[in-house]
Every structure is written in C-alpha cells, then in structure tokens.
C-alpha cells in the first residue's frame, strides 16, 4: 500500500499556503457571487439591496434571467439590421475558427518551409520574425483600416482571414523548432517511394506535428474567441458576443447587474467547456509557452 508522503511545513511554506489559499478563495468567491447575482431578480438585487446573500425566497432563483438577457442582446449593425445573440454567437465562432485556421496554418506552412528547405529568403524570414517580436511597432490600425478599404476587403470575412494569415509571432518559432526536430528519414523514405513535396508535407510531416498543431490551435482559438478589438475595428458588420456584451453594458436601460452577469457567464461558457475537455493540454502548453494564447 502506498504511504502518502507527509508535506513538510515551515514558516515560509505556511505563508505561501495562506497567500495562495486566500487568493484562490477570493477568485472562487467572485465567480460564485457573480453566478448568484445572475440568478437574482432585478428587484431583489437593486431595490432590496440583496447584494451578498442567496436569492430571496420571495423572488426565487431566476434562471429565466439568462433567457431574458439573450432577448436584450440584439445589436444594431447597419440601418435597420440587428444581430441577435445567436447571430453574435455564430459570428464569434466563425471569427474564432476562421482566424485560428488561417493563423495556425500560415505559421505551419512558413515554419515548415524554413525548417526543411534551403532557399534565399529563409534567413530573412526568421530574422524579420524576431525583429517584429522584439520591436514594438505601435498604432498601425488606422493605416490598416485605410489600406483594407482601398482594396475593398474592409468589413469582410475574407479580409479578416487574410489579415490573420501573417506568419510571424511566437508560434512560428514553436513550429519552426518542432519541424527542425523532426528526423528527415520519413521524408526521404517517402521521396524514394515517389511522394512529391505536397504529399510529404501533408501526409508525413503534418501528422507528426499534429499534437503541437492541436495545442496551438486551442490556445489561439481561446484568444480569438475572447478578443473584441479586432472584430470591432475590422469587422463591424459581424459583431461578436464580446462586442455585444460591451454594447449591452453601455445600454443603461437594460444594464442591471443580474442581466449583465448572465451575459458575461454565457460568453464564458464555451471556453469553460473547452477548458474542461482540454485542461491538461491547455495548462501544459500555457506553462511551456508561459504566455497567454
């Protein structure tokens, strides 16, 4: 029978444990309070000032607040066109999925080319990537909007996908390192059997790095789902739920705390589901990368 190793406490460890426990308790209490607020009646929270307690028995637990919040989410796009909550959810998914696919495969393609082939631009591509990671080039958004308008891809789905096809960034270096570490034996064996470059890439090398691709895909998807700046600035006719929540909270007529909390929790739900399924992969890769995806 395995004996459980007794944890050795000293003063410093005791202080660490208390600090961590206090912080985690604060976070948990904040999440719990947010949920309690979401299921309170508006009168219960605002007028009766029942801020801390459980929902008052007279009003009950108002899970219908979530349905009500969905009804308050519609967002005006152009003229008389409105995007409902479900449309915003769909736009968020389309944006996050499309942007992630383009971003991941742009980096994979260029990283593979740089890792496995010799060509003139190879050194320059890697150096430029490092320069752009180190040097903060700020405030290019107005220029990007103007240029996209000029070639008529502003406020289009294709336009935002093209914008996210840039190869540079931290994940390019991760893929470059991964492909560099792959033995050439498989590719050479496939070449001898008559496989062309496309077959070697898609049928041999991509499956070998599928694990890394999946991990990066999940991290970038979470980041893309959560972002509001880029879709707000470059794709205003396809508002995401994050932007919808921002506009919802600005609307003082509907912006009571229970409704807002419902909106916030509904946006977080898909990410929580993804986290529950892939938490080991997400936590493992976030710690390796050390930076939020």
């Amino acid at each position: 029978m395995k004996r459980k190793k007794k944890y050795k406490f000293d003063v410093f460890t005791g202080i660490m444990f208390v600090l961590v426990s206090f912080y985690v308790l604060c976070l948990l209490y904040l999440f719990f309070w947010g949920f309690l607020t979401a299921v309170k009646d508006e009168w219960d929270f605002v007028l009766d000032r029942n801020v801390l307690g459980f929902p008052n028995k007279a009003y009950g637990w108002k899970f219908s607040n979530f349905r009500r919040a969905i009804g308050l989410f519609p967002l005006q796009i152009k003229g008389d066109n409105y995007a409902s909550f479900y449309q915003q959810f769909l736009y968020s998914f389309l944006y996050a999925f499309g942007v992630t696919v383009c971003s991941v495969f742009a980096k994979v393609f260029v990283a593979y080319a740089c890792a496995k082939y010799e060509f003139k631009l190879k050194g320059a591509l890697i150096t430029i990537n490092i320069i752009f990671m180190v040097l903060p080039i700020v405030g290019g958004t107005p220029s990007a909007i103007q240029m996209m308008r000029r070639i008529h891809i502003f406020d289009t789905y294709i336009g935002i996908l093209f914008k996210n096809c840039c190869y540079h960034g931290m994940y390019f270096l991760i893929f470059y390192g991964t492909f560099k570490g792959l033995a050439n034996g498989y590719s050479e064996a496939a070449q001898l059997d008559g496989a062309g470059h496309f077959s070697i890439f898609f049928k041999i090398n991509i499956p070998l790095v599928a694990n890394t691709i999946l991990s990066v895909f999940i991290l970038i998807f979470i980041g893309a789902w959560n972002t509001y700046e880029e879709p707000m600035m470059f794709l205003p006719s396809m508002p995401t739920v994050a932007y919808g929540l921002m506009v919802f909270s600005e609307n003082s007529l509907n912006a009571n705390a229970p409704s807002l909390m419902c909106g916030a929790y509904m946006i977080c739900l898909p990410i929580i589901v993804i986290f529950c399924i892939f938490h080991k992969r997400i936590m493992g890769n976030l710690t390796v990368g050390g930076i939020k995806g």
């Binding site: 600090l19 700020v138 405030g139 107005p142 220029s143 190869y167 890439f201 600005e250 050390g290």
Partner: protein
C-alpha cells in the same frame, strides 16, 4: 527497374538539371498567402502609416492630401502633450501601472512557487488559477465593474465606495481590479519558467542547508530571471499598446484623469471607425509612440540583461 528506382532516377536527373521546379512550386504555393499578408499588413501598412501621419483629410473632397507643413500632425501631438495635459496624465498613470506591476510581481512568483512545491490542494489551486488566463476580458470587466460597485462596498461596509468608479478614484479602482486579476495571469508565466528548473538543483541546495525560501532566492529566482525580465519588457510595451481594462470598463467614457498611454492611442484608433479625419493624427500618435517605446524597450532589455545573475 521498379517504381522507386525509376523515381530515384528522376530525382537525380532533376537535381542534375539544377532547377527543381517542383520544389519551388511547392514553396511558392505554401508561402504565397502568408508572405503576401505579412508584406501587406506589416510592411505596406506601416509605410502607409508614416505617409498617413504627414497627410490631412479634406472633408469637401473626401480624400487625404499632403499636410502643410508635413509635420503638422506631429506638431499637434506635441501641442497636446504640452498644453492639453492629457498625455502627461497618461504618462503618469502608465508609469504608475508599470512600476506597480513590477513591484507586485513577487506575489505571482510566490504563488507559482507554492504550486511548484506542491502545497496541499496544489492541483485544485492550479486549475482555478488558470481560469483567469482564458476568460474573455469583456466578461471579466463586467464582473469586475459590478463587484467594485456593489460587492466591495458591501463587504467593507463603506457605501462611499459605490462611486469609486465614477470619481477621481476611477483609475485606482480599475488598476486595482486589473492587478488582482493579473496575479493569476502572471502566475502562468512563472509556472512555465519554474517547470524548467532542475529538481536536482533544488535538492542539492536543500542538502546544503537552504530552506524553501533560500531555494527560491538562490536557485529558482536566478533560473527564472530571463522570464521575469521578459515580463518587465512586455509590461513596458503593453503600457504603450494596450488599453488594458480601461476600455472594457468604460469604452469611450473614461474620465481624463484615468487615461493611460495605451488607452489614449486606442481611443484615437477607435474614433477612426466613424471619422476619416482622425486617421492622420492617430497615425502620428502611433509613430511617436513607436519612436519612444522602441528605444525604451531595447534599453530596458539591455539593462536587465546586465543586471541579471551571472552563470558563475
């Protein structure tokens, strides 16, 4: 000759010809879109940004024309900096945020160290502490705004705090919540770095008589120093580039006293959604920021590298 031998012969002949068109076709096919996007959005757009900063928008003609003088927009940035006071306030607030982020980093280091040292319930704590890193900032700001307005005044039994987000305490309220939430995000950074520290090194240090605090100070801290210095550089850059929680809390209704550099720049960009006239000024602000942020970033990186622990 079988199939593979025939293919091998073909490959040899192709190499002897000196131009492998299949290889080049493949490289062009897989790289044309990523490189086109890079050239368009990073090279062309940044060059256009410099040119845009020297232009002005003519409402009557509906187009951009060269400004007279060319540096008119940069002069306007300088005028706002000297006369308006908003940029000075932004600099002060950003500097405060940057310094406090560095000073409060040890909290994240302690928490990460506690997780690495596998304190009781560390597995559960690790999962909870990861969640802030993956949640939507807009949703977090919604929870934060309501917590600051309703929860905190009730817990501290101080009704006067209900207006903290509306008066001169606005900046400190937003900063406080962002810092509280950011501790978990910084922990993710530190955990990644600490996972690379050899267990053997820690054990040797403990055998030499160091306690956990001593191991943290003399073994772990030097090992994670590159990560901490990267964090410092990234925090400095984000002071210029990120609107942080300010925009998600208040969009365009933040009071002037709570402006930061990142928020000021983002507001110029935000206004371009409705008006072409602001494009040149916004581009000029971005270029000024770049000329300030780039040397500061490289300088800070050089100083931190010099200050860092040496191998011996």
């Amino acid at each position: 000759m079988n199939g593979s031998e025939k293919q091998f012969e073909k490959n040899i002949k192709r190499k002897k010809r000196g131009f492998d068109w299949q290889k080049h076709l493949f490289l062009v096919a897989i790289m044309i879109v990523p490189l086109s996007a890079f050239v368009f959005f990073e090279i062309i757009c940044n060059i256009n940004s410099i040119l845009l900063a020297m232009k002005t928008f003519d409402d009557t003609k509906g187009d951009f024309f060269w400004a007279h003088p060319l540096g008119k927009n940069f002069a306007e940035v300088w005028r706002v900096f000297k006369m308006d006071g908003i940029l000075i306030t932004s600099i002060k607030n950003s500097l405060f945020g940057f310094v406090m982020s560095i000073l409060l980093m040890p909290i994240s280091v302690f928490i990460s160290y506690a997780i690495t040292e596998k304190v009781p319930l560390f597995g559960f704590y690790k999962i909870i502490l990861f969640i802030p890193s993956i949640l939507c900032t807009m949703a977090v700001a919604t929870i934060g705004k309501n917590a600051l307005t309703y929860l905190l005044p009730k817990i501290l039994n101080n009704p006067g705090l209900e207006d903290a987000l509306m008066d001169e305490r606005q900046f400190i309220s937003i900063w406080g919540f962002a810092t509280f939430w950011g501790i978990a995000g910084n922990m993710v950074l530190c955990l990644g770095a600490m996972s690379g520290v050899s267990i053997d090194l820690k054990e040797y240090a403990q055998i030499d008589g160091l306690g956990r605090f001593g191991v943290l100070l003399h073994v772990v801290f030097p090992a994670i120093y590159p990560t901490l210095s990267t964090f410092a550089v990234v925090t400095l850059v984000s002071a210029f580039t990120s609107s942080g929680m300010s925009f998600v809390f208040f969009t365009d209704r933040l009071s002037r006293e709570a402006y930061t550099l990142g928020y000021y720049l983002f507001m110029q960009t935000y206004k371009t959604r409705t008006s072409y006239a602001i494009y040149p000024y916004a581009a000029a602000v971005g270029i000024c920021y770049t000329f300030v942020a780039a040397p500061l970033t490289l300088g800070l990186r050089a100083v931190l590298e010099k200050m860092g622990p040496k191998e011996e």
